[in-house]
């Protein structure tokens, strides 16, 4: 029992970081119906940038987010402008899948050339510290990572609910044609949305690098998790992504202690199959927009 509770604590903490990564995927999908398969690679890129800033300049990984966030935002806007916007409308959905996959490959290739394929970790002074709460072990970095994720997600929620940009985003998610007719500049919003999605990956990446060792190929582990999360939550739903990330984070963590760590990734697939059988639109997905 003690082990299971410990696993739940770990699961919630890691679920928060998954939620942050997945929120970018689901936001981008909601705005432009593009599945960003490169999100995992973006996370790893963020992890490497933060690693470099830490080892070369001694900048704390949590502080480095302030630097790499804007850089990756610009990268996202650039990728959208050059590649995604130029897709032809007829085949945009399937081609966008391939474009983002190609982007993931390019990132993996560049990172392997620059950093080699050895595993790295960002290890700040507090990396090994942990608190003990009622007999349970709570690592400091994981709590910081969780808090950071919650803060960024809350910021995103406010951005979407309270600002002019957020209203434009929601208008496009609900009905792209009407939004355009009402004067929303869909291209600009999509570009900014893509940039925002990538910068969540940057933030999550900086944190990921502190919690887990990573190499350029690590994005493969991440992407199937992230995609399962957004399908479970319902493509395009931010709330869904957060709930699904927590659910899967906790389940994965429980399976890891009760069965074996090697079977933990399986949880995602089993949940995915169950979802497809019983509720193909996901927990919070809307059925009417269909064509998934």
């Amino acid at each position: 029992m003690h082990l299971v509770v410990q696993a739940v604590i770990f699961g919630i903490l890691v679920g928060g970081v998954y939620a942050l990564m997945a929120s970018g995927v689901t936001l981008v999908f909601g705005i432009m119906r593009v599945i960003n398969v490169a999100q995992g690679a973006m996370v790893i890129l963020g992890a490497y940038l933060s690693y470099s800033l830490f080892t070369r300049l001694g900048i704390d990984p949590f502080v480095s987010i302030l630097l790499i966030g804007p850089v990756m935002f610009a990268l996202g806007v650039g990728i959208h402008r050059v590649f995604i916007r130029s897709l032809r409308p007829g085949s945009a959905e399937e081609m966008s899948l391939l474009v983002t996959w190609a982007t993931a490959l390019a990132i993996e290739g560049v990172l392997s050339m620059v950093y080699t394929t050895n595993y790295r970790s960002t290890i700040p002074s507090y990396a090994q510290k942990s608190w003990t709460l009622a007999g349970y072990h709570v690592p400091v970095v994981r709590v910081l990572a969780f808090v950071l994720s919650v803060v960024i997600l809350a910021g995103m929620y406010v951005l979407l609910q309270r600002t002019r940009f957020g209203r434009s985003v929601r208008a496009i998610v609900q009905n792209p044609t009407s939004a355009k007719l009402l004067g929303v500049n869909a291209d600009t919003v999509a570009g900014l949305g893509f940039g925002l999605g990538i910068s969540t990956a940057a933030a999550a990446g900086a944190v990921y690098g502190v919690v887990y060792p990573f190499n350029p190929g690590s994005h493969y582990d991440l992407i199937s998790r992230l995609l399962s999360i957004v399908v479970l939550g319902g493509l395009g739903s931010l709330t869904g992504a957060v709930v699904a990330a927590m659910l899967l984070g906790v389940t994965e963590s429980i399976v890891a202690v009760t069965i074996a760590p090697i079977w933990a990734p399986f949880v995602f697939f089993i949940v995915l199959i169950a979802i497809l059988l019983f509720r193909p639109q996901g927990l919070f997905g809307v059925r009417e927009r269909g064509a998934l």
Binding site: S86, P89, G109, W263, F269
Partner: protein, 339 residues
């Protein structure tokens, strides 16, 4: 027999005749080895095209079935003898193909409950699941230690493998051509253009999708089997490798998705280029970047692929029509509730 199909038959005879003669005209091992991989990707691309090209359901998980075929071959022949000189592993390939195709039916049935984008996600996840299984089911797959397949006493060593993969490539091309002419092909193309309308018109879309999936992954598994036998040693991360899917999909889109010869053409261009890059730049990851670059170039400059672009240009030069009708934009198609 119409004039076009006579021409088509002649074209096929020349291509396959040439390929058959190749290892006898150019017996250098390195050339035959490279040709093996070219044909391997050509066969994979043809197989992928039956589902992905015709129906528009982009599968990112075909490497999982490639790996299943490879492991089926390796597991089988770590228990039984390959005979002398060792043709038995070739002879069981059809059985592996049929077995994997049948096994894929329930998977396809679940995966194809989703529409294109989610389908891509599900198949991508499937790839990692099969890879995890290959790592974890140690009693069967020997985990990360890998499995070895006994090596035969062929001379010259590469030629039988080459001829076998050529046979699979020919089979895949024949199947792809037959599907395209058949009613199945029409249903698949209708699904690609507008699945809801196809369903409304009474086409058996589910049956067509599952059938195409079975054919596609069965052929893929056969290629995996001969690959495992050729390499003689397989590991989970190489037998079930996202790069195999990527190379395949890239070849299909480069040559022309949904055409009979396009995928093969793509493989004939892509694989030698990749091998040259690997040779020129060693084992570094340059070819990853090159793959990505080719991908992006195709998407921006040749969104339809080489073959359809050539056909369109030719038709335009002859005057008259504006070429093939553009596909109905998805955004313009009426969005109706999914099944």
């Amino acid at each position: 027999v119409s004039r076009t199909s006579t021409l088509g038959l002649a074209r096929a005879a020349v291509i396959f005749g040439g390929l058959l003669a190749f290892p006898f005209l150019f017996p250098q091992p390195w050339l035959v080895n490279m040709a093996f991989f070219v044909l391997m990707y050509a066969a994979l691309a043809q197989a992928w095209n039956v589902l992905g090209g015709y129906s528009g359901y982009v599968s990112l998980g075909h490497a999982a079935f490639f790996g299943l075929g490879a492991y089926a071959e390796a597991i089988l022949f770590s228990h039984i003898d390959i005979g002398s000189p060792g043709y038995l592993p070739f002879l069981v390939l059809p059985a592996i193909g049929v077995g994997v195709a049948l096994m894929s039916v329930p998977i396809a049935w679940v995966a194809l409950r989703t529409r294109a984008l989610t389908f891509a996600i599900v198949t991508l996840t499937l790839l990692f699941v099969v890879q995890t299984l290959a790592f974890n089911l140690r009693w069967l797959t020997n985990g990360s230690q890998g499995l070895s397949v006994p090596s035969p006493s062929f001379f010259p060593y590469e030629r039988p493998y080459y001829l076998c993969v050529l046979g699979i490539f020919a089979l895949a091309t024949l199947v792809s051509w037959q599907v395209r002419r058949d009613k199945l092909g029409l249903v698949l193309l209708a699904i690609r253009d507008d699945e809801d309308k196809a369903l409304g018109l009474g086409a058996h879309v589910s049956v067509a999708k599952v059938t195409a999936f079975g054919i596609s992954v069965g052929l893929t598994a056969m290629v995996g089997g001969v690959w495992a036998y050729y390499l003689g040693f397989i590991y989970p991360q190489f037998a079930i490798d996202p790069l195999v899917t990527i190379g395949t999909v890239l070849a299909v889109f480069l040559g022309g998705s949904g055409t009979v010869w396009g995928p093969a053409l793509g493989a004939f261009i892509l694989v030698p280029t990749q091998q040259w890059l690997a040779y020129e730049y060693g084992t570094s990851q340059v070819y990853l970047i090159a793959y990505a670059a080719v991908f992006l170039i195709i998407i921006i400059l040749l969104p339809q692929g080489i073959l359809p672009s050539i056909q369109e240009a030719r038709r335009r030069r002859r005057g008259g029509g504006t070429g093939r009708a553009e596909r109905v934009p998805a955004a313009a198609a009426v969005r109706t509730p999914s099944t």
